[in-house]
Amino acid sequence: MPIAGVTSNTVPSELLRAAGFFPLMLNPPRGPAAYADHFMEVGVFSARIRGIFHGITAGLWPFLKLVIIPRTSEQEHKLYLYLREIARQGLGKSVPEVYLYNLLHSRSAETEEYGFERTRDLKKHLEQLAGRSIEAADLARCVCESNQARVAIRSLLNLREGTEPRLRGTEALSLIGAAYFMDHAAYAQLAAEAGAEMEERPPARGARLLIKGTPLHHTGLHQAIESHGAVVVAEDDWWGSRCLGEPIAADADMVRSIFDAYYRGTSGPRAFPPEMADKWFFEAAAKADGVVFYLPPEDDVLGWDYPALRAALAQRGIPSLLVREDAAEGLSSECHQKIEEFVSKIPVRS
């Protein structure tokens, strides 16, 4: 099965699967990224995007037939352009075909129409690559499988809700994020089994915290927080609580329903207007005992939201803490101490 790399959650995996591709979330380990050092400007790209650029350019994933990059962040657009330039100038190892999926995230009738058309273009492109058309039945099957994965994730998320969560954030992040790397039908089954097992556990005790900030594709922050006796019960993040989103409606026009789910349901830095972007956050915050804002040094987006969100939480009587270190690198002892103090002062709601 040909493998197509994707760079974030806004590429419709159902279309890829229906065309016979295996969609794989590109998530490079941290480490030296020589090609990124050479071609990417300092302070502009996140470590993850730099890692992806390096991985592709250095030929670390020779099995990739295709890479689909959505217009979900400006960094991803630049990644697309840089990869094309590397290929054009022959500066890297063999770079696979890169395709830009121009999905926009502001809400308007024009944007919606534009995104739908681009989704149809993506389908056509995949059909060309596959050498066959994507039939309605293919789509229905793939949507059905991914919906099973969504239901399974929902049941894992349920285990994190309420005053007696059964699942710690560190475990949850790994269990949920696995959906990006597995066959969805198989994932659904394994996740359901894991959920059933965990239901029997005694509840996790401690302050129930929500994380908001730079997406966490690693468990560094969750581990750090939970090592101080708190439980991370949600994260406003596509690697965690907002992975895959709500099930896709089984409508007559499946491409439309798939597009709708990705256009409306996914979180991302370009979601606009802010009231819409923040809705999920405030609902989740209302159910938690406190919020940890995570803005590592590479953040250049959510920091704009932070002062207003912090003030809004204070108004609602929800305590919050700001972490500015990079949790993937391990937090400093001062930062651990801050977390410890924060957690110890939180009145746990029951």
Binding site: E41, R71, Q75
Partner: protein, 425 residues
């Protein structure tokens, strides 16, 4: 600040001051609407509707030139906006939010009727939304699909074959958004949009840019540059913010005439010119003296910045049957030609050759995301074309991290080691 060599430079600066004072009077005394917009929005639509615009980047440069940025930026950090956030487009917003720490230039910005931006970087929607809220004004975003197809040598297609240069769906989408913006402007002004007027204005923009093209040609061909880069910027940008207006066209003509006369009379900006330097990137607004600092010792003159050179290639659109679509083609691409590979690297090398550049200083701005991109490809391409490059890491509006003396030393070292020796050889 080095003395102004051209009369029209002083006239440009005076005009901007008077224009802004009039804008304030109109807003405060006559309740006339005006708008604050990002530089890469369709200013032409506002012009057509007689809604004056203040460009965010222009205001940022002004705040920075008045050396007010450290006070505002420190105050932003105190309010909880962390120091890693981008400072370019947000500085004017900071001057509104933190107006209490220092009075803004020229009396400050009054409340606009509208703020607008193309959603390029991920941050801009936030910056403008915060700003709009502080003003109690409306923010209208223009979403920005990304460019996927970038044909080679864009400047050869941009004038006549612009509809081939940009993906059709991007143009159509931009036009659809223009209609929304127009409807908003109609509501604000109570007047109907006149397509003919836009067409005339677009023709005016062409004429203005043709004058700039002549100036660019004069700089390329003259034995020594007749006009320093800083003065090019002052004259060009004063007209670009009002592009297509009678004043802007007349000013461009005047600028052309004065430069032409200087060339005819053999007047050089720096008679000791021996080295021609390119400045790639936005201006160092807080230290404009930097650009004349290497003339005395090295005869090194800054001859090129994008501000003049981009006008003709980036703005001229011939074939105005559908002026909205032509305007869309100007709008969708702005900043892409300057920051996206391969467009930026190809064009800069072409410009370097035309301008007989001996060296280039490439600014990688710290804390300003999009104008930091594409730079490594630009540097590689220039070096490959035989033009030595010195990368400069600095913030164009934030003076807090700029070590003026050390920077001058660094450039001097670069000139000595990589440029002077080479030109002697």
């Amino acid at each position: 600040m080095a003395e102004k060599q051209l009369q029209c430079t002083a006239a440009a600066i005076e005009h901007q001051k008077a224009w802004f004072a009039q804008l304030r009077r109109d807003v405060f005394e006559n309740q006339k609407p005006y708008a604050i917009v990002q530089a890469d929005t369709p200013l032409e639509l506002f012009q057509t509707m007689d809604v004056p615009v203040v460009s965010n980047q222009w205001w940022a440069a002004l705040i920075s030139a008045k050396r007010l940025s450290p006070a505002y930026l420190d105050a932003m950090n105190t309010r909880g906006f962390h120091e890693g956030l981008c400072r370019y487009c947000s500085l004017p917003m900071a001057s509104t939010l933190c107006g209490d720490v220092a009075p803004a230039p020229w009396g400050g910005l009054p409340r606009p009727a509208l703020l607008s931006a193309r959603l390029t970087c991920d941050c801009i929607q936030r910056v403008l939304a915060i700003w709009a809220e502080a003003f109690g004004a409306e923010f209208l975003p223009l979403d920005a699909p990304a460019a996927a197809e970038l044909p080679p040598k864009w400047w050869e297609l941009s004038r006549y074959r612009w509809s081939e240069l940009f993906e059709e769906h991007r143009l159509q989408f931009m036009v659809a958004q223009f209609h929304k913006l127009i409807a908003k402007l109609e509501r604000i002004t109570g007047r109907a949009f006149d397509l003919e007027r836009l067409r005339c204005l677009m023709e005016g923009v062409n004429r203005q840019e043709e004058y700039f093209e002549e100036v660019r040609g004069l700089i390329c061909a003259a034995p020594q540059t007749p006009v320093r880069m800083q003065e090019q910027i002052s004259n060009v940008m004063a007209a670009q913010w009002l592009r297509g207006s009678e004043w802007a066209i007349a000013h461009a003509r005047r600028f052309r005439n004065e430069v032409k006369a200087r060339v005819t009379n053999g007047v050089a900006a720096c008679p000791a010119e021996r080295l021609r330097i390119m400045w790639v990137g936005a201006g160092l607004w807080h230290d404009m003296e930097f650009y004349t600092a290497f003339e005395a010792e090295y005869g090194a003159v800054f001859v090129w910045s994008m501000y003049l050179a981009f006008g003709p290639d980036g703005y001229i659109r011939y074939g105005l049957d559908d002026p909205l679509k032509a305007l869309a083609s100007r709008t969708v691409s702005m900043n892409e030609q300057l920051h996206n590979p391969p467009w930026a690297n190809e064009w800069i090398v072409e410009q370097a050759k035309l301008h007989r550049a001996d060296a280039a200083l490439v600014l990688t701005p710290l804390g300003t995301r999009p104008s930091a991109t594409g730079n490594r490809f630009i540097e590689l391409a220039l070096e490959r074309a035989g033009i030595p490059v010195l990368p400069i890491f600095a913030d164009m509006v934030d003076a807090r991290t700029w070590d003026a003396l050390e920077m001058r030393r660094k450039v001097a070292r670069f000139l000595n080691e990589r440029v002077v020796r080479r030109t002697i050889e």
